[in-house]
Symmetry: D3
């Protein structure tokens, strides 16, 4: 999946920011106040005064990503998912999370998470997804309680022109980095869709909002049997909408990384600071291969190749 | 998916059981005392004194299944999933669950659920899955707290001969009814597997048991990004096991229906009662089609066709 | 208690409402938003599209009431008490509540509850009680938190002229349908009362409000030893008020049924719909007979005879 | 109700016990370990070393009882109901409970409660009730968890010969001290009863036990509309039993006082101590008069007169 | 510690207040609405109508204080600490708290607590401490949620001129009544302090407020190892402030008693009432003696002698 | 406090253990199963495979201790107190705890906590304290629920010969490392003590056990006003015992460090491993100096000098 690699090489001025200065720039883009109450975004490791020259971006703070970052000489890893969403009292390297932490701290590489704050913010994960899919007149799916009206989890918008569900699903498939599991769809392939709701990552708690917005189709990840089945049963009480498109959790969030890296570079440049960014080339979707019949499957040329 | 249909046509004696007598026979096979504390198995609708001639079996108590049952003249529907797992104060037909209830009660068709009690019992969902996959020396994955040593959620057993993960995954794929989403695998296709853990339905809360049994591979359904990713990261701290095989929730439980129908017919026959059984031919997996690249996918001839 | 029967026979135009249209009319009279957080008012059974010609009104959704409704050809039963105040996962007819549900649904008879929303609304249970007792300048005993100032549980008002407690209790007795248990009174029979607080049904959680309003007497139902004893002990610290009048829970709420039926008929007529109403003639107070000495009892001619 | 007065006048030896010694004797009769987890039995006020000559017994620790005790020169009041079931941080005499405490402590009169421990113990409230009604082969209705098999809340036993419900209710009425509210009965007056369950005080949480024992009739107090109605509906699913007899909470517990006083006198005498006992002549049932029709009421000669 | 005794001897007019009238005067000074949610201030014992001639003030409602009060002929004890902070169901004199209550009630001596309401009010415990230490421009450390801006727990203010920590600690030591444990200090003796935060009693839950106010030193009581150690570690991440001064819980609150007694006398005098006040001469700090090395200890002449 | 330094210099064989091997040896001495449910003992940082040559022991994992350890070339710090008793999701060095972690991990120095497991174990903190004070026939103060009878929090034992409280307090003072705050005592200096209860660290939750053992004196740390005052009030209801001796939390636990280091060296030597131990020379008691009057204070020659 080398196609997922992304390298930014701005001309390098003399001044690099400290970790604290990077944190400040991130706060202006993805304020921590936007994160959900159960989230754990923000700085996880690193000394505030250390100099940051090279930032490594990834979805998951897993061991191969930590190895990749350290090998590339990165001073800071920014991931979408928190390393410690559940709080801990031990970082021993005998645990897989503690080992990641040791890999980074031993090499003086810091770690920051931008999770639901980046989902919610303007220009964040949800906005990038909506833009890539060409949605117009987007509004948040679930508005932030204490934020701007443009902030909140997920987005809802309309397609420039309505199309068949199968056609739209093919567009979604083509927009995402390729993973083994592909894209699953529930609904009539010939049903016409115009209004689209999306949530990067796992969005099965947001069906009420999808129905309130009367979206024709809902794109999200990690849909299990019961939430998907109940959502479809309820849809069939009325217009048969929303249809469902279940994508890779990893893939749906990966799309934001280049945009996020770009935004942070610009925010730091505005302060007179220079950094180098890299987006991890590693696919951290956990699935390695899939077996399907040809009956209901569409083998699609991977457009990101 | 007509291949999933199953029709039992024993010679029909004169005596049919009441609903109460069916409940008693089911209690001997899948005792309600084996269900989990949060479950809602047992009789959902029906009059205890009504005569049961025809039983309709299905995984999900959804509207098309209720319609199918009533159209076929069934007196009783037995499903694996509860209609009301979360308790309710209204059965109004303006809700999709209430509509299912009205469809059945208006036509005097009863409804019984056999869920985690059937998962746990000897000869239940887990045992049928293990038998179909050819596992030997099976024991429960998580032993029942107040049951026999053979009872409990999931099963662990060994293959008669070790094989490559990809080969085993193909066997799993072939054993299950075909659904759009196929079978996803995490792990080295060439890794050798011998000890197998399985849980019908969603089993992501049982990873500790899988590790305690030192299974080489774990087959279950509804695995989301984070549980799967964390299980794989922890596996990589050691022998890289367990590998993961994520199957359709519906498909993994459908396999039990013919065996369950058969067992109940025999139990009733032992009491001198005759009934007719049918297994629903409807695929209630929520996904209708899938898009995949050919890169990591194996298009397999559907052996159940 | 045939005297409790009530038959409305408006001339019958051609247009009957659907169940959904009846629900809308009820919402305008007794909005569900007024119900208490623990209540379960609203539609319990029925198909939204079914035609409603005949409505049967009762306090309690018990089996004899369901039998009566079905025998009379009713399409809808409206009760004051919920069938399922505690939520359930089974409606099996082997339970007494499930049997009521089967009786109704098998005969396509719907069921709606109007409980604490009808207690609280203008023209609801409390207002009808106050009006029958001749109270003036009534205000809610406990004002609704998010409603109009006229809405809330219970009512407080003044009698046109003050009278002896015993005389007032006799008036209360005469206003209520006759039940075996009669009306119990705590206080000096010769004490003069002018300000009256009432709560239909069980009102022992509202003593603070009664004291805040400085009511002379409190009429409610289901007063047990400790709440009554403590209320009287506290009263004796001051003016010996409020006195207590404990009436039949059933009787106190039955009074609303004719008024409720009348109001709903008019609300539907305003929309151009015609229905027939009947108020159940069955006394569902659980007590069948009483034994008392003549010492403290007043045998009163039953004025409703 | 002077008939309720009871005066014990044993010959008075020289030795009186201390409060601590009375507590020890009570512990041997009604151990505190038998009380329910939510109860607050035991010593409420008094100095352990004070000499106890005269003990005053009552059901309720209300102001008139405290006045009566102090006026009679009592050193100790023993009540069935706790003064402070809900714990408090203030005993100010501006509250009615604090005023009772001041009345007693200012006059050096101690206060002890024997509540659910006395309900449960052998020879306690439940046993006295069963004996007065002539029950045979009695066992606890709900056995004590950590006690003897003879201990527990309520009792179940059989009548020497079966009789009509109305006849039995008349016997119950006659056995209890007269109160305004009388005795209410639910069930067929001509139904035959043989097995009887009783709970002194409020017993509506024990219906499951009553059904498990297959009692024909259940005598208890403070039955409200919903528990009584639901118990009767459930009864009508089968044999129409148990019938219900709702008695005065006060009256059902008052019966124990003379027996309790007698038992304590004997227990103290065994230790060489002498005391004088008196049972309060005050009716603390909160109801002063009742209004009933003659239709369903039986005016009974008060046999305790 | 006779130096702590304080006797107010205003000329005695003829009119003494009732307990209710004293309560009203206290409400105007230290409103109960200012107390914390977990507190139990207000009247604990006494009859509202009793006449109050002599009031005894103390920090702790312990037995020796009750004895002292009764021996001195007091009608009312006012303490800072509640007798029953945790609610109780028994006041038996076999418990040490019940014995205090019996001592007082038997001698008709009332008891009132003024705790966190007196901490928070203007002119309360915190204000008196701040004034004695000479703080200027004081504001509450943690502002009251529903009170005036001058009300709240603790105070922060500045010294007229900055001084060394050791010098300031010596001033604190000299201002407090002498107790065995002395005054402990954490910080550089030569560090300069200007901004001072204080909380009478135990203030270890308020460190966040101390840091928000950027106080140089925090004076409070009952600081344990972990809160003190963590506060110092956090201080060392920056300016090494706040330093900590740990004083006797008793001593820090005793200072308010003479001021409180004076304020209440004046408030009652404004209503035309006369009382006599006395402040207890008993040191109720639990520690009797201390052993220290001379190395880090400063033996100071007790200025209050 | 150089006197607290302790250097072990066994002859150094060639074989050093890994961190995992040190953990195993510690488990044999202070099993993690003995820790309290709220505790967080065990490995906090470090790689299981790293070689441990030098171990640094301290009570508190504070910054100066981490600096000292790293400067001395230690591979492992063992502390009594956990770094993260409350779990965290961030170890950023902008927090004082995260900074300690960075200091250690950056220099490949591991961290292990032995807290309530070391309090409870045989030969642990409590046993060392008891031995130093010369107690005989010691048993646990609160026996471990699932451990040996010799295990549990605290110890109770008897002095070889009874002595005056003041004399015993002087012995306690002399046995502990000198800290600014000294040793506070509540009780009659001339009272005779024989049975002694001790708990290292904060033991104010264990008063019930102290009373059950009928100890004459209780030695613990961090006693605040209310627990100490209530314990003394309750003592005065009887024999005036237990007296209280409040020592430095740090000092009471420091005593265990040399014994713990010694035990671990021996346990590792039994496995053929060699390490070097050092006990931190830093006093981490938070208090720097104290001010006392001479009245109740005893200035004692510091015997550990």
């Amino acid at each position: 999946m080398g196609d997922m690699a992304s390298a930014y090489t701005p001309e390098e001025p003399a001044v690099h920011p400290t970790l604290s200065q990077v944190v400040s720039a991130m706060e202006s883009l993805w304020p921590l106040g936007l994160q959900e109450g159960w989230d754990a975004s923000g700085i996880v490791a690193g000394r505030p005064e250390q100099i940051i020259q090279r930032i490594h971006w990834a979805v998951d703070p897993v061991q191969v990503v930590a190895n990749e970052a350290v090998a590339s000489g990165a001073d800071l890893v920014i991931t979408h998912h928190p390393l410690f969403l559940r709080p801990v009292t031990s970082m021993a390297a005998s645990t897989f999370k503690g080992k990641v932490l040791h890999t980074l701290v031993e090499q003086s590489c810091a770690l920051i998470t931008a999770h639901t704050n980046a989902d919610s913010a303007v220009g964040g994960v949800s906005d990038v997804l909506a833009e890539i899919l060409g949605l117009e007149n987007t509004v948040p799916l679930a508005a932030a309680q204490d934020g701007l009206t443009e902030e909140g989890i997920g987005r809802v918008g309309t397609l420039p022109s309505a199309m068949r569900l199968e056609e739209f699903a093919t567009r979604v498939y083509g927009a995402l980095p390729a993973v083994a599991g592909g894209v699953r769809v529930a609904g009539d392939p010939d049903g016409i869709v115009s209004k689209v709701a999306i949530t990067g990552g796992a969005g099965d708690s947001l069906f009420e909002y999808v129905r309130d917005h009367e979206a024709d189709v809902y794109i999200t990840a990690d849909l299990r049997h019961h939430p998907a089945s109940e959502a479809r049963e309820q849809a069939m009480m009325g217009s048969d909408r929303p249809y469902l498109i279940d994508v890779s959790h990893f893939a749906s969030e990966w799309l934001w990384l280049p945009a996020g890296a770009n935004a942070l570079e610009r925010a730091l440049a505005d302060e007179g600071f220079s950094i180098t960014s890299a987006v991890s080339a590693i696919n951290t979707d956990p699935w390695d291969f899939i077996l399907t019949s040809g009956d209901n499957a569409t083998t699609t040329h991977d457009e990101t190749d």
